[in-house]
Assembly symmetry: C2
Homo-oligomer: 343 residues x 2
């Protein structure tokens, strides 16, 4: 048997029928006699025939697959529990609706280049910061998409989070406790940030922090800022550096739980008590944060819901139901045990 090569024509020839008959045998049994159907199926079996996925997709014009356009390489994305949870939310909807999930990382470092290589019915576009070439490209291709972790954009559905409010709240909380020497442990905004300033969630969080500082007569220039890639070890390293300064901070406000974990690691190693000597806060409220010791005070954002909603919006768009829904999800401050009044 010529492995994997049998086509519907081969089966048709073997069974002495036309290709249409073969198709009917598989998809439309009532349009063909039982006897012929048997004959066709037998021939198919003998030849090891299975209908080509691509052929069917091309004809049907649908892939039953949704793409996730990622801002970074897979290896980086998947080591981040944030994305795991986000994908979980999107996955819930996919499970229900029978879609598969195509992870599409940049191709040759270009998100744009990756688009033509993904056979999907629509995209969830994650945190694109740089230019908006992607949006134009998707629009011109007529592929539905939903924006996530980006800036709100008319004409495109999106799911956003109230990052600004969350950041404002946690900052105010620390200030209310009496902290004045704050350090912000932020994710690396990438090389483009110098030129264009912050974008998306990071911009909103920074704005929220700045906002909260005002009533206390402080500004961003009064807080120490460390920008590092999101990983526990980077959080650790940055915190060690931060604490080595004269007048080290009394509170570390991390913009990601992962970074906060690293900060606590560093403090523990330096034998600095959390929270009695230094307070630490996170952002995200990953499930691990409740188990973490000390239990982490953090800003909860509904990551799973975000994923679910993005997938929901996308599927609506694919079906041509809704046009351009926007949704902003709330955040909430979860006070646990990693924060206290300064010594």
């Amino acid at each position: 048997m010529p492995s994997g090569k049998a086509t519907s024509s081969d089966v048709a020839a073997a069974a002495g029928v036309s290709r249409s008959a073969v198709s009917f045998a598989f998809n439309n049994p009532q349009r063909i006699s039982a006897a012929t159907r048997e004959r066709i199926l037998a021939a198919a079996e003998a030849l090891g025939y299975a209908p080509s996925t691509l052929g069917r997709m091309l004809q049907a014009g649908t892939t039953n697959s949704i793409g996730v356009l990622l801002p970074q390489r897979l290896a980086r994305i998947l080591e981040n529990p944030y994305y795991a949870r986000f994908l979980m939310g999107a996955g819930q909807v996919c499970d229900q609706e029978g879609y598969t999930l195509l992870l599409t990382p940049p191709l040759q470092d270009s998100v744009l280049k990756a688009i033509p290589y993904a056979a999907v019915d629509g995209f969830i576009v994650c945190g694109l910061e740089a230019d908006r070439g992607e949006v134009a490209e998707l629009t011109r291709r007529g592929i539905p998409f939903v924006l996530i972790d980006s800036d709100r954009l008319e004409g495109a559905p999106s799911v956003e989070v109230d990052d600004r409010g969350g950041a404002r709240e946690v900052t105010r909380y620390l200030l209310d406790l009496g902290h004045r020497r704050l350090a912000v442990l932020s994710m690396d905004p990438g090389p483009a940030a110098a030129a264009r300033g912050y974008r998306g969630p990071l911009a909103r969080r920074m704005a929220g922090i700045a906002e909260a500082l005002v009533p206390f007569g402080l500004s961003m220039s009064d807080v120490r800022l460390a920008e590092v890639p999101v990983s526990r070890s980077e959080g650790y390293r940055a915190t060690r550096a931060l604490m080595a300064a004269t007048e080290p901070p009394t509170a570390i406000l991390a913009l990601s739980d992962i970074l906060a974990y690293g900060a606590v690691d560093a403090l523990q190693e330096l034998a600095i008590q959390v929270p009695s000597e230094v307070s630490v806060t996170g952002f995200d409220d990953l499930s691990e944060s409740a188990w973490f010791r000390p239990r982490l005070t953090t800003v909860r954002q509904p990551i799973v819901t975000k994923g679910r909603m993005a997938a929901d919006f996308l599927i609506s768009a694919i079906r041509g139901e809704e046009q351009h829904p926007h949704q902003t999800l709330g955040t909430s401050l979860i006070v646990r045990e990693s924060t206290a009044k300064p010594a």
Copy 2:
């Protein structure tokens, strides 16, 4: 502009050339004059034309995508850090080779049904326990695949782990420490297990445990066994039940780090000291386990390497290079702080 509807014929008509010319303009510039090319590209731009992904794939016979055939729904898979790490390994290779990664959960609870809906060049097949219908189906379709977390099978490349050795080693370690009342906290083998017995990694781990017991004059009937779905809270619940027994175990041997975390949670809540009163071991050595308190003693399996290797084998198979490589990866016992001699 008729959004997303422009085809190469439309462009050809608009530019006054044939469809081939359009194709050349995009893929084979040297076969066409610069002037015509410009004209075609201009027409394409005006019409909002972009070559159809599916069309190209059908013609090229390649999708640049590899599928991961998953044994459970996406929502379940993605909440398990084990899979996140595995996918990360596979993702590293995809990044390098320019493949996308298609997550393919069962369709209507059937792994088999999901296969025809995935347009991929090959599959990584994860932990299929039930029957082997999938292998037959993939073979008949002529799609390359690699088996993971399964039983070794001639005629199909696979990447396995020495689960048996790892389980034997950790069991012996606990016995050597002096523990005699062991509890095994195992993952739920699913409904089929009653009829067919254990399969794959679980079978091997159980065998390893049994093997280690022999020299000490013990057998599986001397250890308590709890089988639960892999989640921290299930580990917690099972452990509470385990400890409520008369003569509770002095050591809990979990077959997954996640379950071990849950076990420690439960013990801490019961104010039972780990490791001085009860020892706990895991399996996997997730990166969190080194940060966990007490630092978890566990069996390390090279999950990321497994993912990388699976993807490597698969891509070799897709390119028709290697035939049916098998690889068995080693495990190693990582002794940390969650184990000690019994009181």
